[in-house]
């Protein structure tokens, strides 16, 4: 549904987006990750037709966003960053306007507004002016606007920004539910969200895609992927460390003493190596192991290891 091909966007001499290509199909929820200023919002603005690309092309539902922007825009629901809304309108007035401009009239309009209001839990503020709303409600009002015409494509720029944990949960499950039938792309800083919602994630840094895969695949790139953490008693930290360091597939071992117990983590030589767990189990058969588990890998660590060196380099220059 969304096809981005070699997209580049310059602002003056600055390359905000630098040769990005990806596609999002129906039934997919694509998480868009990256540090601030990586080009996430710019990419989304080009996809929604707000700004034209410098080069490359973007099409939505087969419509090129430069050649046939109106046909493309009809398919898209868009929640811009900071969730802007007309402050001088009431929530119902604003949603009515959004429905009307999407071509909905009369009964269809009324139904669309009611549906969006229910999905975003806005009943209690329906006749309140947008100006007087709290940030969470304002955010949800703008979100409701984006789904008012039940679009096939949803572009959401930080949809859970500024919401409380309950609201975040609601919006996430809403996105996940809608993701079954729509093509959704959303940006976020919150990595746990990627796990909770996305079927695929893209990490971009300084305008380029640096990682693209399912959350599981991305996690596998972490040093923590396949690492084994165990808690034992009756041994010294040194003894544990020595024994575990000798394992064939172990890269390094961390051990800490907590009272009478030792907590140790063994990292695999190759991230995600399943053999390590088996080896650890064999090596510790005679120990008093109270707990042992294999780490799935940490997204935040992958995110940092991919984006941080470059950012640091950029700052040094």
């Amino acid at each position: 549904m969304i096809k981005v091909d070699n997209l580049t966007k310059l602002f003056g001499a600055k390359r905000a987006v630098d040769g990005i290509s990806f596609t999002v199909e129906r039934g997919e929820v694509l998480g868009f990750l990256g540090p601030n200023g990586a080009g996430k919002s710019t990419t989304m603005r080009v996809i929604t037709g707000f700004i034209p690309p410098t080069s490359g092309c973007v099409s939505v539902g087969g419509f090129d966003m430069v050649e046939k922007p109106i046909a493309g825009k009809r398919l898209i629901g868009y929640l811009p960053e900071n969730a802007p809304a007309y402050t001088d309108m009431t929530v119902s007035g604003f949603l009515g306007f959004a429905a009307e401009i999407r071509g909905l009239r009369g009964e269809a309009k009324r139904k669309a507004v009611t549906r969006a209001v229910e999905m975003c839990f806005l009943q209690s503020v329906l006749h309140q002016s947008v100006e007087t709303l709290s940030k969470g409600y304002r955010h949800r009002t703008c979100f409701a606007q984006s789904i008012i015409h039940d679009p096939e494509v949803l572009v959401l720029d930080e949809p859970t920004d500024g919401l409380d944990p309950n609201q975040k949960h609601e919006i996430r499950s809403l996105i996940r539910r809608m993701g079954e039938k729509k093509a959704i792309i959303f940006s976020t800083h919150i990595l746990e969200e990627v796990d909770a919602v996305c079927s695929r994630a893209i990490i971009i840094d300084r305008g380029r895609i640096v990682a693209n895969g399912t959350p599981q695949e991305l996690r596998q790139r972490s040093d923590w992927a396949g690492a084994v953490t165990l808690r034992v008693s009756g041994l010294t930290a040194e003894a544990v460390k020595e024994k575990l360091s000798q394992l064939r597939t172990a890269k390094k071992v961390q051990a800490e003493t907590h009272g009478t117990r030792i907590t140790a983590t063994v990292f695999p030589r190759t991230p995600g190596d399943q053999d390590l767990t088996r080896e650890v189990l064999e090596a510790t058969r005679s120990w008093q192991v109270e707990e042992l588990h294999t780490e799935a890998g940490r997204l935040d660590e992958v995110f940092r290891s991919i984006t941080l060196p470059d950012t640091a380099k950029g700052e040094a220059q």
């Binding site: 966007k9 603005r45 707000f50 034209p52 109106i70 825009k73 898209i76 811009p80 802007p84 007309y86």
Partner: protein, 248 residues
Amino acid sequence: MNTWANIKTIAKRELGAYFSSPLAFVFIVIFLLLCGFFTFMVGGFFERGEASLTRSFFDWHPWFYLFLVPAVGMRLWAEERRVGTLELLLTMPITTWQAIVGKFLASWLFLGLALVLTFPIVMTVNYLGSPDNGVILSGYIGSWLMAGAYLAVSCITSAMTRTQVVSFIVSVVVCLFLILAGFPPVVRFLEGWASPWLVDVVTSFSVITHFEGFQKGVLDSRDVVFFLSLIGFSLFSTSVILRGHRAG
């Protein structure tokens, strides 16, 4: 068909925005007070003893509009950009032109409404004497077209900035030029040293020169074309500016 529906939706929202804030009422009250005060106190409506609104009423309009129209137009785009709703508006399935025309029409209708509310003055002059109502009507048409021209200029300045105050000041300056180019003292000053063709060029840009005919009851197509082309050109410039912002 679709185009018109979109323009109507935009215009309806925009008109609603005027009346949901005190701005609309403040504007109308100030405009009517100014009209009343200048017509009867400064314009010497009674002293003139003529059944006409040409000098006592319409003569002031270019000056009222100088401050009042930029005040109406300043928020049109500046506010959208400041709040960020511009991004919402321009990613909806409408063209930039539809948005520009819709917003412009809403404000122009609003100015028209303010103008219509000066009807007691027309009733007064009809009560006191027997004026030529055709001349008055043509004065109103000219006044409304002139307001539209000012408004279109305000659209440009509003699209240029996200600060309403800057938009207001710049459009007052531009509109002031549009007045002064045909303001008799300025024209006399120009005639003192400039060649006649230059004076003609400058005065042809003036709203006063073109409003003059309407005030006298002469609906000259050249005057109508002047105002309409000024509006068209300004709205076109607005679209260029809006596109420029987005291209980065």
